[in-house]
Amino acid sequence: MKITVDEEKCCGAGQCVLIAPEVFDQRDEDGIVILLDAAPVAEHHEGVRESAGVCPAAAIHLHEDA
């Protein structure tokens, strides 16, 4: 799995960090998403899928077979 995020879309809601804190963080200054791990290990995949589904800005993109 590979993840990309669209920083310009991100509205800083932090939903992704609540669900998958191993993979996502937020910038201190403006809350924009920081991708900690663009190719997380399998145990985090479920959380990442949920984060992408929950993200209110549709800013998280998954490439499942990458």
């Binding site: 509205c11 800083g12 809601a13 201190d28 809350g31 949920e50 589904g53 929950v54």
Partner: protein, 402 residues
């Protein structure tokens, strides 16, 4: 209940799409139909009053998913098709074109309609903002407008006033509250928001009820407060709240009370669920029923509904959350502030324009957290609210069924 063989989702926006995606993510292989009144693919509403209205985003950027991702869902997308009736007993939905759709599980996700007050509609130059189409029309006229009056001092009114002002219009915002968004933010922070608007040149007319339009040749020329002189305008936006889109459910047999009334599982009747802006649910943590109109609720509630359709039995008891962006300030609110709560600053500095405020009830317990240009830190303080919103451990059935 065993897993239903098919699911019909009515309303193809944030909540409806999230139910569909969540069902698939959980491995559901049955048939899913996603029925939506609007023509295009599901799009997102928050950017409409911000980036789309301002013109910094093309309409296409609001698309929630690409064509490929939608195709991969393997759901039947019935778009441009309005549901006109539901029979709850047989879970049958009739559409405007006369089709009858029946499914073992039905999800109601039809959101809201902008409220139009009789005295405040019918003239050219008067707008509401709910859909992408509304945003396009409003933007076009805003570019030509000189004097704009926004009627409504809630979240949407405040955002529209902010965006219109940044676009250079002369903007007046009016509404019944002492300060914009007072109901959502409480007195102290709403005063700060009022100051922010004033600094940016938005004229505020608080404590004002508007009940009529001034027109000439069918075009609006101003709005008429109940007391006082008319406010001149060549463009008027009314943002006076919304009504749950339940008109089509009148004869369904479901309980409708400012939304589709559901239990704590978001279930309105056997095999029928509601999610998003239209759903009123029993929040076990707060011990009362609640309807939330915010973007993250649409997805979170949808995910819970998907889980419950597949046989889980989980109550929905979220920590409510919304954000708004106005005049360069990002506000995040977790929990439900009350007008009388005590507010204390727990991080940052009001003078610097970056802070986190905590709202405390009479007993000094935190009930809400607000970030002002501090999104990450606000989220970190959300932790303090978890106890308050968590469902209480199960008690006697008699008490639990209230």
């Amino acid at each position: 209940m065993s897993t239903p063989s098919d699911v019909l989702v009515v309303g193809a926006s944030a909540a409806g799409l999230a139910v569909t995606e969540s069902l698939r993510r959980k491995g559901y292989r049955g048939r899913i139909t996603l029925l939506g009144e609007e023509e295009g693919a599901p799009y997102d509403r928050p950017p409409l009053s911000k980036q789309v209205l301002a013109g910094t985003w093309e309409a296409e950027r609001t698309q929630l998913r690409t064509r490929d991702v939608l195709d991969a869902l393997d759901a039947e997308l019935a778009l441009g098709e309005r549901a006109v009736a539901l029979d709850a007993a047989t879970r049958t939905v009739r559409t405007a074109s006369g089709a009858e759709l029946r499914a073992e599980a039905v999800v109601l996700a039809t959101g809201l309609h902008a409220r139009r007050l009789p005295g405040l509609s019918g003239a050219t130059g008067v707008h509401v903002l709910r859909t992408l189409g509304d945003a396009g029309r409003l933007r076009e006229e805003l570019l030509k407008a000189e004097r704009v009056v926004v009627v409504g001092d809630g979240v949407l009114g405040a955002e529209i006033a902010a965006t219109a002002r940044l676009m250079g219009a002369d903007v007046t915002m009016t509404g019944p509250q002492a300060a914009p968004m007072q109901a959502q933010l409480g007195h102290d922070i709403a005063q700060r928001l009022a100051a922010l608007h004033t600094e940016h040149g938005v004229r505020l007319r608080p404590d004002t009820l508007v009940d009529g339009l001034e027109t000439a040749d069918g075009r609006v020329t101003g709005v008429r407060p109940v007391d006082g002189d008319p406010l001149p305008a060549d463009l008027v936006v009314t943002a006076v709240g919304s009504t749950p889109a339940t008109d089509w459910l009148t004869h369904s047999g479901l309980a409708l009370r400012d939304g589709v009334e559901c239990d704590s599982r978001c279930r309105a009747a056997d095999g029928i669920y509601a999610a998003g802006d239209v759903a009123r649910f029993h929040h076990e943590g707060l011990g009362r029923s609640l309807r939330l109109e915010n973007r993250t609720n649409a997805t979170e509630q949808a995910m819970l509904v998907a889980a419950n359709i597949l046989g889980e039995d989980r109550p929905y008891s979220p920590v409510p959350y919304f954000w708004t962006d106005q005049l360069g300030v990002k506000i995040q609110v977790y929990g439900l502030p009350t007008p009388t709560a005590t507010v204390r600053i727990v991080e940052g500095d009001t003078e610097q324009g970056r802070f986190v405020a905590q709202y405390l009830d009479d007993e000094g317990r935190p009930i809400a957290v607000l970030g002002w240009n501090m999104p990450k830190q606000a989220r970190q303080h959300r932790q303090a609210l978890l106890d308050r919103y968590a469902p209480a451990p199960r008690v006697e059935p008699a008490a639990a069924s209230r």
